[in-house]
C-alpha cells in the first residue's frame, strides 16, 4: 500500500517491465501457435494449379505459365522489362 504511486497513469511504473515481458511472451506464443497450424490443403492445390498454368479465378485465359492473366501482369512485365533494360 505504497502512497508514492499516486499517478494518473493506470500502469504503475513497477508493473511496466513485467507487463512488457508478458505482452512479448503472449504475442510470440500466439503467433507461433498460428504458424504451427496445419496449412489448409486449398493452398497447396492453388499452387499446383498455378504451376500447371491454370487460372484459378478462371476469368482470363492464362495458359502459358500463369503469368499472362490480366492487365496487372502486363503492367508488371513492362516494369520488369524496363528494369532489365536499365
Amino acid at each position: 500500500m505504497s502512497q508514492s504511486e499516486k499517478d494518473s497513469n493506470p500502469v504503475e511504473p513497477t508493473l511496466e517491465p513485467l507487463l512488457q515481458a508478458h505482452i512479448g511472451k503472449q504475442l510470440r506464443m500466439m503467433y507461433d501457435a498460428m504458424a504451427r497450424e496445419p496449412v489448409p490443403e486449398r493452398f497447396k492445390l492453388l499452387l499446383d494449379q498455378l504451376e500447371a498454368g491454370e487460372n484459378p479465378q478462371g476469368q482470363q485465359d492464362g495458359q502459358e505459365n500463369g503469368l499472362e492473366n490480366g492487365r496487372e501482369n502486363d503492367h508488371i512485365k513492362a516494369g520488369a522489362d524496363k528494369a532489365g533494360a536499365a
Binding site: 505482452i23 504475442l27 497450424e37 499452387l47 504451376e51 503469368l67
Partner: protein, 186 residues
C-alpha cells in the same frame, strides 16, 4: 530456365505458407478472411514472381504484398482509415462494462482491439522477428512511424492488461459470500 525459377518459387511459397497464415490471422482476425488474404497473396506473388529479386528476403516481399492487399481492402471497406486511432479510442471509452470481463478474454481478443496499423507493427516487430528497418520497408513508412505504432500498441495493451490484473486481485463477492455461508452447515 523459366520453369526452374517457377518451380523454386512454388517451393518457396510452400515454405512460407505457415508464416503467411500467421501474419494473415494477425491482420485479419477471422479465419475466412485471413485465408482469403493468404490466397490473394499467393496469386499476386505468383503473377509477380518475376519482380522478386533473388537474394532478397522472400518473407518480407510476401508480407508486403499481403499487407498492401489487406489495407487496400480495408480502405475500401471503410474510408476513414486515417482515424483508426481515434476510432479505437472511442471504442475503448465506450466499453467500460466490457473491461470488467477482460480477464476472461484471451490475449488474442485484446490484440484485435488495437487499430490495424498498430497491431501490424507490433506483430512484425514482436513476433515475426523483423527489424524496425525491415518493418518500415514492408509497411512503406518511416522507421519512426513503426516505432511510435509499436509503442502505442504496447501502451494500450499494457493498460488493458493492467486493468484486467486489477480485476484479478479484487475480491470476488460471490466467493466471499460462499466462504461466509459455509461454516453454518452442520
Amino acid at each position: 530456365m523459366n520453369d526452374k525459377t517457377r518451380l523454386s518459387l512454388k517451393d518457396k511459397l510452400l515454405a512460407e505458407l505457415p508464416s503467411l497464415r500467421a501474419f494473415a490471422l494477425s491482420l485479419a482476425g477471422a479465419n475466412d478472411r485471413a485465408d482469403d488474404l493468404v490466397q490473394d497473396t499467393l496469386m499476386k506473388a505468383w503473377a509477380n514472381g518475376s519482380s522478386f529479386e533473388e537474394g532478397t528476403n522472400m518473407r518480407a516481399w510476401l508480407f508486403t504484398i499481403m499487407r498492401n492487399t489487406f489495407f487496400s481492402q480495408f480502405r475500401k471497406a471503410r474510408r476513414e482509415i486515417q482515424d483508426v486511432d481515434g476510432e479505437a479510442a472511442a471504442r475503448l471509452v465506450a466499453m467500460p462494462d466490457q473491461l470488467a470481463h477482460l480477464d476472461l478474454v484471451d490475449f488474442r481478443d485484446q490484440l484485435d482491439r488495437l487499430p490495424a496499423d498498430q497491431r501490424e507493427a507490433l506483430v512484425l516487430i514482436g513476433a515475426s522477428g523483423f527489424s524496425y528497418e525491415e518493418a518500415a520497408e514492408i509497411c512503406g513508412c518511416a522507421v519512426g512511424t513503426i516505432k511510435s505504432r509499436v509503442n502505442r500498441a504496447r501502451r494500450r495493451l499494457m493498460e488493458l492488461l493492467a486493468l484486467s490484473s486489477v480485476e484479478d486481485f479484487s475480491p470476488d463477492p460471490e466467493m466471499a459470500e460462499s466462504v461466509a455461508v459455509a461454516p453454518l452447515g452442520e
